[in-house]
């Protein structure tokens, strides 16, 4: 869980909804790192994560009038929800491109958060074996350090459902890692 904001969130969200640029700057400073981190954990690519984080804030400007939350977890959950949709869009585009473009030799830009070692590559492959919902829960819980309750509130599920989802996600991850190590 990220540290609480140094400014009152409720009035800031209300000012942002009215189009106040300074309020948006405060929201950006507060939530852009979280959004970016979520996107990076989901995509494993720094450029893509930066692009998604940018898209999230552009989408947020358009949709802020629908934001009813005024609490820190609520607003953060709202941004992460938008990020999740953007990641899903990116994954769909990626899948389409993979179908239409001939497979090329994988190239990793060293300036990016590249998958430069075997462990990281294994983790990425294991993550990709999870469903979108499972990846979402794993990243929220183990990268963003959100509690079960926060994930439940943000995703509109019961705590028990989140726990079950997490359990299945970790079991799938473990199976995948076992299979990788056996194959390796």
């Amino acid at each position: 869980m990220s540290s609480p904001p140094a400014f009152p969130l409720g009035p800031t969200v209300e000012d942002a909804a009215k189009g106040d640029g300074a309020a948006w700057d405060r929201l950006f400073d507060r939530f852009h790192p979280v959004v970016y981190r979520y996107a990076l954990a989901r995509t494993g690519n720094q450029s893509v994560a930066e692009e998604i984080a940018q898209d999230v804030f552009v989408a947020a400007v358009k949709g802020v009038r629908g934001l009813r939350e005024r609490s820190q977890p609520g607003v953060e959950g709202w941004f992460i929800r938008i990020a999740r949709f953007k990641v899903a869009d990116w994954a769909r585009r990626k899948a389409r491109e993979a179908q239409t473009v001939a497979p090329q030799e994988t190239f990793f830009d060293p300036s990016e958060t590249a998958i430069t070692n075997l462990a990281a590559a294994e983790v990425r492959r294991a993550m990709e074996s999870l469903t979108d919902e499972q990846q979402d829960v794993v990243v929220r819980r183990f990268v963003l350090d959100q509690s079960l309750e926060e994930v439940a509130r943000s995703t509109g599920r019961r705590v028990g459902a989140v726990k079950a989802l997490q359990h299945r996600a970790l079991a799938t991850l473990a199976r995948h890692l076992d299979a990788e190590s056996t194959a390796g």
């Binding site: 189009g19 640029g21 948006w24 700057d25 950006f28 852009h32 790192p33 970016y36 981190r37 979520y38 990076l40 954990a41 494993g44 720094q46 450029s47 994560a49 930066e50 984080a53 940018q54 804030f57 552009v58 400007v61 358009k62 009038r65 958060t113 998958i115 462990a119 990281a120 294994e122 983790v123 990425r124 294991a126 993550m127 794993v138 990243v139 819980r141 183990f142 990268v143 350090d145 726990k163 997490q166 359990h167 970790l170 079991a171 991850l173 473990a174 199976r175 890692l177 076992d178 190590s181």
Partner: protein, 237 residues
């Protein structure tokens, strides 16, 4: 971190989750952050532009409802005005179209409805509202109503049709007589004439101009020129 691990390959899973966490620690590059902030402000400017999001939220539900009501009132007002538009009025086409719709939907009541429209035109003619055109349209409506099945023209509807036809014929005769007294009047032209477009349907766009010598008077035995109209002389043009 309270991870509810499934108990399979625990150390490996924990290492993988730590790796996932490490992969997500590098901060975004400053140019990317600046670009994201700039995009945010661009989106903000777009939204507050004249045609942007500010207009719609300001309009809101109430505004939208008011706009809809204004449009409906405007349209209703136009129709209401058009309902009494004289033949020379630009709105007369709307009146004809309205009447045509009402007539077409009237079904078995078409004789009565057609007679009603003719009666309305007769009243216009008597009030000297585009007298000649009003009479012509009255006759066209009567003609139209007379072509309906005879079963529909039985009873009150038929009686009303005949009465209006008599009155229109009387009014037309008066028109002809007054035209004869004025040599410059086009109505004073000798002989029975068939005006082009006399067979046109009312409300079909171009109002028809039937000749006074044509029309319902030939289809009804009671439509003679002197068949009991008690119109007062004061209504003459």
């Amino acid at each position: 971190m309270n991870i509810d691990r499934p108990g399979v390959s625990e150390p490996r899973l924990a290492a993988a989750l730590d790796e996932l966490r490490n992969l997500s620690t590098p901060p975004p590059r400053p140019p990317a952050v600046a670009a994201a902030r700039a995009a945010l402000h661009r989106a903000l400017e777009d939204r507050s532009g004249p045609a942007g999001g500010r207009l719609r939220p300001r309009l809101g539900g109430l505004g939208l409802a008011l706009a809809m009501v204004s449009i409906m009132v405007g349209a209703g007002g136009t129709l209401a005005f058009a309902a009494h538009a004289r033949p020379s009025s630009p709105l007369h086409g709307i009146r004809l179209a309205e009447e045509r719709v009402i007539y077409d939907l009237a079904g078995k009541n078409r004789p009565s409805v057609g007679a009603g429209f003719a009666q309305s035109r007769l009243a216009d003619a008597r009030a000297n509202v585009d007298r000649k055109d009003s009479l012509a349209e009255a006759e066209t409506w009567l003609k139209e109503a007379s072509t309906t099945p005879s079963a529909d023209r039985a009873g009150d509807a038929g009686q009303k049709l005949e009465e209006v036809t008599r009155e229109v014929n009387q009014e037309q005769q008066n028109e002809v007589q007054s035209g004869e007294s004025s040599p410059t009047s086009p109505a004073a032209r000798p002989g029975p004439t068939t005006t082009p477009g006399a067979e046109g349907r009312p409300g079909s766009g171009e109002p028809s101009r039937p000749s006074p010598t044509e029309g319902p008077d030939r289809t009804s035995p009671n439509n003679g020129p002197n068949n009991g109209s008690d119109r007062s002389p004061s209504s003459k043009p």
